[in-house]
C-alpha cells in the first residue's frame, strides 16, 4: 500500500515538474531554477557551516570555480554540459581540498579570514586573467545542455535542476543519518571528545570542506548553463553572504533548511522590486529580524528535535535486556598477557618552566584497576593527557600493549585502544544519548563515505549491529533513561554513565577515568564502584584518577601516589595507606603517623 502511495506521489511530482514551467511562464521558471541552484550551494554550505560548525565566507569562490570550469570547457574545449559536469565539481573539490588541508588548525575568525581571502582572490583572478576568463565581460554563449542530440529548452533544464536538487538532498540526508553525520556534528559539538572516540578532526573537517566545495561547484556549473553567460559580478563577497543567509534563514543543521531558505531568499528581492533603492536595506533588516525571531531558522523553528535525523522506526526506545553481539569485526583477538596494558617510561613535561611531571614511570597490568592519586596539582590529569595523546611529553615513552605510541595524536591513540573519560563529562551535547554511544564505535567512517552517501545495505546492517551493541553497553553501565534525550539535557550522573558507555564502545585495552566520582551522590558512587569492577572483569584495564578514598581503597589492585610531579609511592592499597610519605603529603608534617583515613575529609 505504501509503495503504491509512494509511486503515485512520485508520478505526480514528475508530472508537476514537467508541466509547471508552461503554467508559470519563462521568467518564473528561470527564477525557480535559480532557487534550485542556490539550494544546492546552500546544502553544501550547510554541511560545512551548519553541521560541522566551520563558517565559510568564501563559498562564492567555489561556486565561481564550478561555473567557469563548466563555461570554459563548453565554449573553448567543446565539451558539453554533461561531460563537463564532473570536471566542474572536481575542480571545485580539488581547490576545496587544497584550502582545507592546511586550514585544519584554524579556528573561528581565523578560518573565516582564509575563506574571505580565498573568495576575493578568486574574484580578482576572474577579473584579471582576461585572456582566459574574459575579464569583466565574462564568458558568453554557453550552450544549453543536450540529451540524445536534443538541446534542452529552459523548461527541461528546470527539470534537470530539480533532479539535481533531489539527488543532493537525498545524498545529504543519507550522509547525516550515517556515521559521517555523527562525525560532522561531533567535531562541531566537542572536538576534544571527537578525538577521544578516535575521530581525526582534521580528516572530518577536510571531508566536510571538500564535499561542500564540490556541491558549490555543481551549483556554479548549473548556473553557468542556465544563464548562458557568466561574469565576475555574480561571484563577489555578497554571494558568499547570500549563501550563508540561505542556510541561516532556512535553518542551519537541518536537511530541509536550504530547500526552504533558497526559494524565499530568491523571490524576496522580486517582491521588493518596487522599492529598488530600499531593496538591500530591507534585505539586511530581514537577516537581523530572522536572527531575532527565528534563531533556528524557519525549519529549525517548525521542527524541534535533535540535530541529526535518525530513522525512528529502526530505533529501540529502551535498552534491551539481553546482551547482543558486538558490531563489525567482532571481539579483538586475545591480547598477550605478558606485557602491561599501558606502560609509561620516565615521562617528563614542563609548562613555562614549571615541571609538571618529573620522570614518572608507571605500568598498568591487564585485568587490573590501577588508581592514581595525589593532592591537587600533583600532575594526575597532565599524566592522563600525555597518556591519551592530548599533550606531547617533553621526554619519555608511552607504550600501549608493548607498542610505542609516544606523540601520537589523541584520535590515533583512541583507535589503538586507549579510551578516556573526563573530569567534566565531554559529551556531544546536541546528539542523543544513543547517538553519543554510537559515535564511540571506531572505524565506522573509514572507507565508508560512499556507503554513507548511498545508504547501502552493508552500511545499514553495520549500523544496526552498532545500535544493538550501543544499547547493550548502555544497559551494562546501568543507564536506564531516555535513549533519545539530547546529551546536554542529562543530569551529571547520567552524563557520566553515557560517557563511560561511549568509551567502552572503543573496546579499549585501557580505560582511563579522570575523577569519575566527582559530582556524584553517595548512592551513585556505590554504583560506580561496582561498575568499575565489572568493567575490569569485562576486559579493559582501568586507570583511575580519583580523590574519593573509599572508592579507591575498596576496588584498586594497585595505587600510585603522585606529588608535585614526582612518584611518591606505589603498591597495594594497604601498602600505600601505611606509607608515611603519603600520609605526610596529604596531611602535612605534623600528622606524622596518623591514619590515612583522616584524608577522607577532602572529598
Amino acid at each position: 500500500m505504501r509503495r503504491v502511495i509512494r509511486g503515485i506521489v512520485i508520478a505526480a511530482a514528475v508530472a508537476a515538474v514537467w508541466l509547471l514551467p508552461a503554467a508559470i511562464g519563462r521568467y518564473y521558471t528561470q527564477m525557480l531554477s535559480l532557487a534550485g541552484i542556490y539550494a544546492i550551494a546552500g546544502h553544501g554550505l550547510n554541511l560545512l557551516a551548519g553541521y560541522t560548525g566551520q563558517t565559510s565566507l568564501g563559498h562564492a569562490g567555489f561556486y565561481a570555480i564550478g561555473a567557469y570550469t563548466g563555461a570554459l570547457l563548453a565554449t573553448k574545449a567543446g565539451l558539453g554540459f554533461w561531460s563537463a559536469f564532473p570536471l566542474s565539481m572536481l575542480a571545485a573539490a580539488a581547490v576545496g581540498l587544497l584550502i582545507a588541508l592546511p586550514s585544519f588548525k584554524l579556528e573561528g575568525p581565523y578560518l573565516a579570514m582564509v575563506t574571505i581571502a580565498f573568495g576575493i582572490i578568486v574574484n580578482s583572478i576572474l577579473v584579471e586573467w582576461s585572456d582566459l576568463t574574459g575579464g569583466t565581460q565574462g564568458v558568453l554563449g554557453i550552450p544549453r545542455p543536450m540529451i540524445a542530440g536534443y538541446r534542452l529548452p529552459l523548461e527541461r533544464q528546470f527539470a534537470v535542476i530539480v533532479v539535481a536538487v533531489v539527488l543532493t538532498t537525498l545524498l545529504l540526508r543519507n550522509l547525516m543519518r550515517s556515521p559521517w553525520g555523527r562525525a560532522f556534528v561531533a567535531v562541531r559539538e566537542n572536538p576534544i571528545a571527537a578525538q577521544a572516540v578516535g575521530l581525526s578532526t582534521r580528516r572530518v573537517k577536510t571531508v566536510a570542506f571538500t564535499i561542500s566545495a564540490a556541491l558549490a561547484g555543481a551549483a556554479g556549473h548549473l548556473f553557468a548553463f542556465l544563464q548562458g553567460f557568466i561574469s565576475p559580478e555574480a561571484f563577489e563577497f555578497d554571494t558568499s553572504v547570500f549563501f550563508l543567509t540561505i542556510v541561516i534563514f532556512g535553518g542551519a543543521s537541518t536537511i530541509a533548511g536550504p530547500l526552504v531558505g533558497a526559494p524565499i531568499m530568491t523571490f524576496l528581492p522580486e517582491l521588493l522590486q518596487r522599492f529598488v533603492d530600499w531593496r538591500l536595506i530591507i534585505y539586511g533588516a530581514i537577516i537581523v529580524a530572522t536572527l531575532y525571531a527565528l534563531p533556528r531558522g524557519v525549519v529549525g523553528t517548525l521542527v524541534r528535535r535533535s540535530a541529526l535525523p535518525d530513522s525512528a522506526a529502526a530505533q529501540p526506545s529502551s535498552p534491551p535486556d539481553k546482551a547482543s553481539r558486538r558490531p563489525a569485526g567482532g571481539p579483538r583477538p586475545p591480547r598477550p598477557v605478558s606485557q602491561p596494558a599501558v606502560a609509561l617510561d620516565d615521562i617528563r613535561i614542563s609548562f613555562g618552566g614549571v615541571r609538571a611531571l618529573n620522570g614518572i614511570s608507571l605500568a598498568v597490568e591487564p585485568g587490573t584497576i590501577h588508581a592514581l592519586i595525589g593532592p591537587n596539582g600533583a600532575g594526575k590529569t597532565v599524566l592522563l593527557n600525555i597518556l591519551c595523546g592530548y599533550y606531547r611529553p617533553g621526554a619519555g615513552k608511552v607504550l600501549l600493549a608493548g607498542r610505542d605510541i609516544t606523540g601520537l595524536p589523541a584520535d590515533r591513540a583512541a583507535r589503538l585502544g586507549l579510551a578516556r573519560t573526563f573530569q567534566t563529562p565531554q559529551l556531544f551535547g546536541e546528539l542523543t544519548v544513543l547517538q553519543n554511544v554510537l559515535a564511540g564505535f571506531p572505524g565506522q567512517t573509514e572507507g565508508r563515505l560512499l556507503d554513507s552517501a548511498l545508504s547501502t545495505r552493508r552500511l545499514r546492517r553495520e549500523q544496526a549491529e552498532c545500535r544493538a551493541a550501543a544499547c547493550e553497553l548502555l544497559s551494562f553501565v546501568g543507564y536506564a533513561g531516555d535513549l533519545q534525550a539530547p546529551a546536554s539535557a542529562l543530569p551529571i550522573g547520567h552524563q557520566r554513565l553515557v560517557e563511560i558507555a561511549r568509551a567502552l564502545a572503543l573496546d579499549p585495552v585501557l580505560l582511563a577515568m579522570d575523577e569519575p566520582a566527582a559530582g556524584l551522590n553517595p548512592k551513585e558512587v556505590e554504583e560506580l564502584d561496582e561498575l568499575i569492577t565489572r568493567i575490569r572483569d569485562r576486559g579493559p584495564a582501568v586507570l583511575l584518577v580519583e580523590h574519593h578514598m573509599d572508592l579507591i581503597m575498596g576496588i584498586s589492585d594497585r595505587v600510585t601516589v603522585l606529588d608535585y610531579g614526582e612518584k611518591l609511592a606505589e603498591g597495594t592499597p594497604a601498602e600505600v595507606q601505611a606509607d608515611p610519605r603519603v600520609v605526610k603529603a596529604y596531611l602535612g608534617d605534623e600528622a606524622g603517623d596518623e591514619d590515612m583515613d583522616a584524608a577522607r575529609v577532602g572529598r
Binding site: 573565516a112 579570514m113 582564509v114 609548562f351
Partner: protein, 288 residues
C-alpha cells in the same frame, strides 16, 4: 619607490587603526565587528555632510563624526551583537554583516552612487620630499595614529575604566565576580572600535574620496591585518597594518593596482597556513 613606501605607510596606519577595533571587541567578548568597514565609511560620510552641507569647520566636523560613531558602536552592540553572543559565531557574524549592508545602502540613498570629495586643506597641495610627491595629510596620518595608540595606552593603564576593560578582556568570570559590569564593557569596546574606524574614515576620506562602498575593502583588509597580527596582540596588529599597507602599495606600483588584492590576500592565507594564530599571536595550551 620612496613615494610608494610613504603613502603605503599612511594607508597602512589606517588599516592598523581599524584593525585595532577588531582587537578591542575580540578581547572583551570574543566577537568581531564585521561592520567596521561600514563604520569607517559612516564616519567619513558624517564629516562630509557636516563640512559641505552644514559648513562646519573641519576639525569640529571630524570630532563630531567620531563621537557619533561611538554612539553607533554602542547601539550596534546592544541591538546586533549582545542578543546573539550565546548562539555561536554564525549569528553575530551575520548580524554585524547585515548591519553593514543596511548602513552602506542607507548611505548610498543619502549620498548617491558617485564618490564625493571630502575637502581638506592638507590634501590639496602635495609636498616634495626627496623627489617624492606626498600630501601633508599622508604624513599627518601616522602621527595621529601614534597619538591615538598612545592615548589608548594611557587610558588602559591609568584610568579605572581602562583597567576594568582590561580586566574584562583578561577574565570575564573574574571581572563579573569583582563587580565589573561586563556587558557595559563590551558595549564600550564596540563604541571605541567604531570610533577608531571613524578616525580612519575622516583621515582617509580626503585621499580616496567618500562613497558608500569606500569602507568595504578597507574593512576586510583591516580584518586581515588584525588576524595576521594576532587578534589579541595590539602591537602586532599595528605592525601588520604598516606592513600590509607598504607591501600592497609596492605590489600595486610594480604589477598594477589589480594585482594588489590577489597578492595581498594570498599572503594572508600563506601566513595563516604557517602560523595559525597570526604572526605575533600566542598559541595557548588547551586545558582538558
Amino acid at each position: 619607490m620612496f613615494q610608494l613606501v610613504l603613502s603605503g605607510l599612511a594607508i597602512g596606519c589606517v588599516y592598523g587603526l581599524v584593525a585595532l577595533g577588531y582587537n578591542l571587541t575580540y578581547v572583551t567578548s570574543r566577537t568581531l565587528n564585521f561592520a567596521q568597514g561600514s563604520a569607517l565609511m559612516l564616519g567619513a560620510v558624517t564629516a562630509l555632510i557636516l563640512v559641505v552641507d552644514f559648513r562646519w569647520p573641519m576639525p569640529l566636523a571630524m570630532a563630531a563624526a567620531v563621537l557619533l560613531l561611538g554612539a553607533f558602536g554602542l547601539a550596534l552592540e546592544r541591538l546586533a551583537v549582545r542578543p546573539f553572543v550565546s548562539r555561536g559565531s554564525m549569528a553575530w557574524v551575520m548580524s554585524t554583516l547585515a548591519v553593514g549592508i543596511i548602513v552602506e545602502n542607507v548611505a548610498q540613498l543619502v549620498l548617491g552612487k558617485s564618490p564625493r570629495g571630502l575637502p581638506n586643506a592638507l590634501a590639496e597641495q602635495p609636498l616634495t620630499i626627496a623627489g617624492a610627491g606626498i600630501y601633508p595629510l599622508e604624513l599627518l596620518i601616522p602621527v595621529v595614529v601614534l597619538g591615538v595608540a598612545w592615548a589608548a595606552r594611557m587610558f588602559y593603564g591609568g584610568t579605572m575604566l581602562g583597567r576594568a576593560l582590561r580586566a574584562t578582556a583578561f577574565d570575564r568570570e573574574a571581572s563579573l565576580a569583582v563587580g565589573i559590569d561586563v556587558n557595559r564593557m563590551v558595549g564600550l569596546s564596540y563604541a571605541f572600535s567604531s570610533m577608531l574606524a571613524a578616525v580612519g574614515g575622516v583621515l582617509i576620506g580626503p585621499l580616496i574620496g567618500v562613497s558608500s562602498t569606500m569602507g568595504f575593502l578597507i574593512g576586510l583588509k583591516a580584518f586581515a591585518v588584525a588576524i595576521v597580527g594576532g587578534l589579541d596582540m595590539p602591537v602586532g596588529i599595528l605592525l601588520a597594518g604598516l606592513a600590509y599597507g607598504v607591501i600592497e602599495n609596492l605590489i600595486g606600483g610594480t604589477f598594477g593596482s589589480s594585482a594588489k588584492e590577489i597578492f595581498g590576500f594570498g599572503l594572508v592565507i600563506l601566513v595563516l597556513f604557517t602560523r595559525p594564530t597570526g604572526l605575533f599571536g600566542r598559541t595557548t595550551l588547551r586545558r582538558i
